[in-house]
């Protein structure tokens, strides 16, 4: 695993894809949609950021499960650092979303507490901040790893249920909810897809890259204190 973290090709790919999505995202012709207009470009930034958060948390969850199965601290380190990066992406998702909502849903922010998807995202961030506080209050490494793995699996699975199931049952301003059609069915044309999918991939790779740096730093910290990982 460590060897893979040090290879360069996927980092180069991340840089190239990021450059591509940022230039193309700003420059390509987008379809003129009612209300959305040019803000539809935010699709290349807001949506991939959320996808990245969910994906990073999913990988973090897998590592938490691996920790519970095999009990190696290295798995726990990976899970924690991925969650950290995911929270940063979550905050970015909020900021880009606020910007978008400001221009399309009105600028009073009254939609902030009315929308179930925003509630789901907010709960997600709360859960992971609580996860870090839980980690902070257990001094022993083994115990901390075990308890926080249990919490993160418990909370993440429930979070997924909330984010992907509840909004479909209730009204939401987001596409794909409460009778609103999903974005892809009519708003996206094929050129936008050519930017959107690479963007998701680019952000995910960037997230993994940042996490890999944090993981290596954490491993060094453990080695320095002679903790067997």
């Amino acid at each position: 695993m460590l060897r893979q973290l040090k290879t360069r090709w996927w980092k180069a790919l991340a840089v190239v894809l990021l450059l591509y999505t940022f230039t193309a995202g700003m420059l390509i012709d987008v379809p003129a949609r009612f209300v959305l207009h040019e803000t539809i470009r935010n699709l290349f930034f807001h949506v991939p950021v959320w996808f990245t958060m969910i994906l990073l948390l999913l990988v973090s969850l897998i590592y938490s499960t691996l920790y519970l199965r095999h009990g190696k601290l290295a798995y726990d380190i990976v899970a924690e650092q991925l969650a950290k990066v995911a929270v940063v992406f979550g905050v970015l998702g909020f900021l880009t979303g606020a910007l978008w909502g400001n221009y399309t849903w009105g600028d009073t922010f009254s939609w902030l507490f009315a929308d179930t998807k925003i509630l789901g995202a907010f709960i997600g961030l709360l859960i992971y901040v609580a996860y870090f506080i839980l980690r902070g209050s257990v001094p022993d490494e083994e115990k901390r790893a075990r308890i926080s793995s249990v919490y993160s699996i418990f909370a993440y699975i429930l979070l997924i249920v909330f984010i992907f199931v509840i909004p479909r049952l209730t009204d939401s301003l987001h596409p794909g909810n409460g009778g609103n059609p999903a974005f892809s069915t009519y708003d996206l044309d094929n050129t936008m897809r050519l930017v959107f999918y690479p963007a998701v991939f680019a952000y995910f790779l960037t997230g993994c890259w940042i996490a890999s740096q944090l993981i290596r730093l954490r491993i060094l910290h453990y080695r320095k204190h002679n903790i067997n990982i």
């Binding site: 509630l119 709960i123 115990k143 418990f154 429930l158």
Partner: protein, 219 residues
């Protein structure tokens, strides 16, 4: 001994230990009384929506205090002894069932105090009572599991609240939605979907807890 016998014994032990520590349950009752009186004296008169929302908030905070202690009050030594006697799944399940019963009792007392001090505006009592039952189940299941997690860390009382509130936020939202619909007229038909959804969610929480709890108690 077979599982059902162990389960009944565990449940009996929960009731007995609550009965012998009467100060704990009296503390919770006093807490509940204080919250309801606080609401009654600060609002004086409430409109229906405020009545309902404040009721659920009172229930939520009572259950943090009532249920969250379930793993915190037991000494570590006694917990280890319990684990040698019964399967971990049975222990968490018995806690959840016991806490559901406790929450039902506390919710009924809360409702009684509430009705005496602020009146009773609910038109569709059946929907409201089902919501109370489902709420008791969700709160008991979530807080039992989370208090098992928080009990392993320091400053567990605060931790229980911050670890469980994000999980209970959507549950509260659905509960309040059901109850608000129950306020003006009969609404069992409209509420059926939300109720089923909440029931499924409760089953989900219990199953997750059964899978994950065995990893918690081993030290």
């Amino acid at each position: 001994m077979n599982h059902s016998k162990v389960f009944v014994a565990l449940l009996r032990k929960e009731v007995l230990s609550e009965w012998r520590n009467k100060y704990a349950i009296s503390g919770i009752l006093l807490y509940l009384l204080s919250i309801v009186m606080l609401i009654a004296f600060t609002f004086e008169t409430t409109d229906d929506r405020t009545w309902m929302v404040m009721f659920w908030i009172a229930i939520l905070f009572t259950s943090v205090n009532a249920v969250a202690k379930s793993f915190l009050q037991e000494s570590e030594g006694r917990q280890y002894y319990m684990y040698t006697l019964a399967a971990p799944q049975l222990i968490i399940l018995s806690k959840m069932v016991y806490n559901t019963l406790l929450m039902l009792l506390l919710s009924s007392i809360a409702l009684l105090l509430y009705v005496v001090s602020l009146g009773y505006p609910v038109a569709d009592s059946l929907s409201f009572l089902i919501a109370m039952l489902l709420g008791a189940m969700s709160f008991a299941a979530t807080f039992s599991m989370i208090s098992a997690i928080a009990g392993k860390a320091s400053n567990s009382a605060t931790l229980t609240a911050i670890l469980s509130f994000p999980i209970l936020l959507p549950v509260m939202r659905i509960l309040i939605r059901i109850s608000l619909r129950a306020l003006p007229q009969e609404s069992l038909q409209v509420n059926a979907q939300d109720m089923l959804y909440l029931l499924a969610l409760n089953v989900f929480i219990v199953v997750l807890a059964l899978i994950l709890f065995p990893y918690l108690w081993r030290d």
